[in-house]
């Protein structure tokens, strides 16, 4: 059981980051991460910890997505509303926000499997772990990742070019 404490210390950061990147919703990400560790608390033995945690988190996300797409739309609306209230005095913050928005779009443009593989890889999972978490064969991970990376960068650059054009016009 103290194992869970160790798990939490070791993996919480990476799990939240992964989920935040994947979901674009920090609150949701933290909830899922929390729930994942609660599951771990109930789990007697976990063989491959990292793969287990990410798999459970993925499943929780999938369940969430199935159940409450509507709720999330609501949250998105609330967030959008809130965005208008937030004062962003610093241009650097604004730029960062724009970058993040572009990145979000680019990531969302990826196929689900590609996106997940890439995000898992970014959290340091090795190919075996990614394969386990996504139910893919180890041999296909390289291809999946190369496709994901290429498409992400291309999408991002295309969006950036588009944003630049819009700014030029304005």
């Amino acid at each position: 059981m103290t194992d869970v404490e160790r798990l939490f210390r070791t993996y919480h950061a990476t799990l939240v980051r992964y989920l935040t990147r994947r979901l674009g919703d920090r609150d949701w990400a933290e909830e899922v991460a929390q729930e994942t560790f609660v599951r771990a608390l109930r789990q007697e033995t976990i063989s491959n910890e990292r793969a287990w945690l990410f798999t459970v988190a993925n499943n929780l996300v999938r369940d969430d997505a199935r159940r409450d797409a509507r709720r999330r739309r609501h949250l998105t609306l609330l967030r959008e509303e809130h965005k208008d209230d937030v004062v962003e005095p610093e241009p650097s913050a604004l730029e960062r926000a724009q970058e993040a928005a572009l990145a979000r779009k680019a990531v969302d443009a990826l196929a689900e499997r590609d996106r997940m593989a890439l995000l898992l890889r970014e959290e340091g999972l090795d190919y075996t772990e990614i394969a386990e978490a996504l139910q893919l064969s180890v041999g296909s991970i390289g291809t999946t990742l190369s496709r994901a990376r290429r498409r992400l960068v291309e999408a991002y650059e295309a969006l950036q070019a588009g944003a630049g054009r819009r700014e030029g016009n304005a």
Binding site: E5, F8, R9, H12, A13, T14, V16, R17, T20, R21, G24, D25, R26, D27, W28, A29, E30, E31, Q34, E35, F37, V38, R39, Q43, W52, T55, V56, L60, R62, D63, D64, R67, D68, R71, H74, L75, L78, H82, V86, V87, E90, A93, R96, A97, E99, A100, A106, E122, Y127, I141, G142, T143, T144, L145, S146, A148, R149, R150, V153, Y156
Partner: protein
């Protein structure tokens, strides 16, 4: 595998760069790339793609949390609760705090049976009445036609389907409380429904209002009761009763974790099965459509979403215990720092398999405990485990109030990429473009987590970045910070010697940032602009 003459495909290049190729293949790729200009170019491109996608993805981390206005507690609090202390929403009026008689005791403990008083006085009281157990036991035995303990897991599940309507009033309020859109749900319904049910249980001799699971384990209860009634209660019977109680509590809590794929994956097929059954029974009863919908929505938010309704699990377990005839231990787990109840703490009895989780108001209940001095161990994510002894007798209530303290502060000066780090800052140390990160240390106090990172601007010149993240989801202080987003903070440690300047601001994630060093303010602000 690969021949030196065959070009290397992109996937293999990525696998190679990711260090994921088996040795033989790796050597072949290395050899080929060294000799083939086209493939060398492809490798260079792949490196670029890897770096670029990592950079793009890292810009996703800057997502503000806690942005949902006026909702039920935002989940930052929950993570903070796990990391340090529970920051719960203001307790709804009808939580345990309102129940003056109960709260006065702070801890509920019963040996024997539990009787729920009428809801009329809006209080929940538990009365110790060991003798009351016998008639109950007899009625149970009569109803089942005799004990048959071996069928336990099966009988646990069946009543859930048979009597779903008995379950729904209990579980519905819990779920309603989880709603983010809590304001939409008519709240008065919640406590009244919840409080209305237990008296039925009591008056009905344990049959009328009993939730399905209670029936489920009646065989065990009956056995336990028979043993108690005849004065022949043995440890093994108690253990069995306790096992039943544990199963029951698992099921009772399963409405919050109807996530079969997870459990299937976790290899808990039997649990998954039980949960599946629970799920079916829950969706079966004809309930108002809106409630059903909201319920489904709320499930995803998970039960820890500061559901104001106390989880029914320990209460049912108490009911279970009523018929079990053994001693019991119950109590409440609190955060030592704030005195707030801690949910989802794991309470176990040393030397046994008996354990329980605390509900949303921090209560736990373990039934079928052998009399004597027992060691209770309480564990919770983000807290130091505590072991405490408790005297268990058959005569009187055994109770425990256990305070947990947040995990020990990390010694400063060391580089830690800890959960504290993660919980508060969402990532390991911040990389600042063009600066070398020398060290990063995170320390934690009651209300905040502070990360102090030292960067080298150029040889001999270092700047210190102090990030302070409040752990308490203190709305007032959040509001204050929002009003004064650029409030400069004094660094909490003496800055390095020399002409030191500092600049402070509030990061988008809510952290208070202070950058200080032997540089001009303008230089510091230049660096600040590069902080992701």
């Amino acid at each position: 595998m690969l021949e030196n003459t065959a070009h290397v495909d992109e996937g293999t290049i990525h696998a190679w760069l990711d260090g994921a190729l088996p040795p033989v293949e790796r050597v072949a790729v290395e050899a080929h790339v060294a000799a083939c200009a086209a493939c060398a170019a492809a490798v260079a491109e792949a490196r670029g793609l890897i770096a670029a996608s990592a950079r793009i993805l890292s810009s996703l981390d800057d997502v503000p949390a806690g942005v949902i206005p006026n909702a039920t507690p935002v989940s930052v609090e929950r993570i903070m609760a796990a990391a340090a202390q529970p920051a719960r929403a203001p307790a709804p009026a009808w939580t345990v705090r309102r129940y003056a008689p109960l709260a006065a005791a702070a801890v509920i403990v019963i040996v024997g049976s539990v009787v729920w008083k009428s809801a009329a006085n809006r209080s929940v009281a538990m009365v110790v009445a060991p003798e009351a157990a016998s008639p109950v036991a007899k009625s149970d035995v009569a109803a089942t036609g005799g004990p048959s303990a071996d069928a336990a897991p099966v009988t646990v599940a069946q009543p859930m389907i048979r009597e779903p309507q008995a379950r729904s009033p209990l579980s519905a309020p819990v779920d309603a409380g989880k709603l983010k859109e809590a304001d939409i749900v008519p709240k008065p319904v919640v406590p009244s429904m919840r409080l209305a049910t237990p008296p039925r249980e009591a008056s009905g001799g344990g049959r009328a209002g009993a939730a399905g699971y209670a029936d489920a384990t009646k065989d065990q209860r009956a056995r336990g009761q028979l043993g108690a009634a005849t004065g022949n209660a043995t440890n093994s019977l108690m253990q069995r009763s306790a096992g039943a109680a544990n199963i029951a509590s698992n099921i009772a809590s399963s409405d919050a974790e109807k996530k079969a794929p997870v459990d299937a994956l976790a290899g808990k097929s039997s649990n998954a099965k039980l949960e599946e059954l629970a799920k079916r029974s829950e969706s079966a009863p004809a309930r108002p459509a809106t409630q059903l919908e909201r319920r489904d929505e709320s499930v995803a938010q998970s039960r820890q979403k500061a559901s104001p309704a106390p989880s029914t699990a320990p209460l049912r377990t108490a009911d279970e215990k009523q018929r079990a005839g053994g001693a019991a231990v119950s109590g409440v787990v609190l955060d030592g720092a704030t005195g707030r109840p801690l949910e989802a703490a794991n309470v176990s009895l040393s030397g046994t398999q008996q354990h329980a989780s605390t509900n949303s108001v921090g209560e736990f209940f373990i039934a079928g405990v052998s009399p004597g001095t027992q060691m209770l161990t309480v564990q919770r994510i983000g807290f130091t485990a505590v072991t405490q002894s408790v005297e268990v007798t058959n005569e009187r209530a055994s109770s425990a109030t256990i305070s947990l303290s947040a995990l020990a502060t990390q010694p400063s000066g060391t580089t830690v990429a800890s959960s504290v780090d993660s919980a508060a800052f969402g990532s390991a140390s911040r990389a600042i473009e063009g600066l070398l990160l020398l060290s990063s240390a995170t320390s934690q106090t009651t209300g905040s987590v502070v990360r102090r990172s030292i960067y080298e601007v150029r040889p001999g010149v270092q700047v210190t970045l102090v990030e302070t993240r409040l752990l308490l989801a203190d709305k007032a202080s959040q509001a204050r910070r929002e009003q004064r987003p650029n409030r400069a903070l004094a660094p909490s440690a003496p800055p390095p010697p020399g002409a030191v300047h500092s600049t402070g601001w509030t990061a988008r994630d809510g952290s208070e940032m202070v950058l200080s060093g032997p540089l001009s303010v303008a230089e510091l602000q230049t660096i600040r602009g590069r902080i992701p």
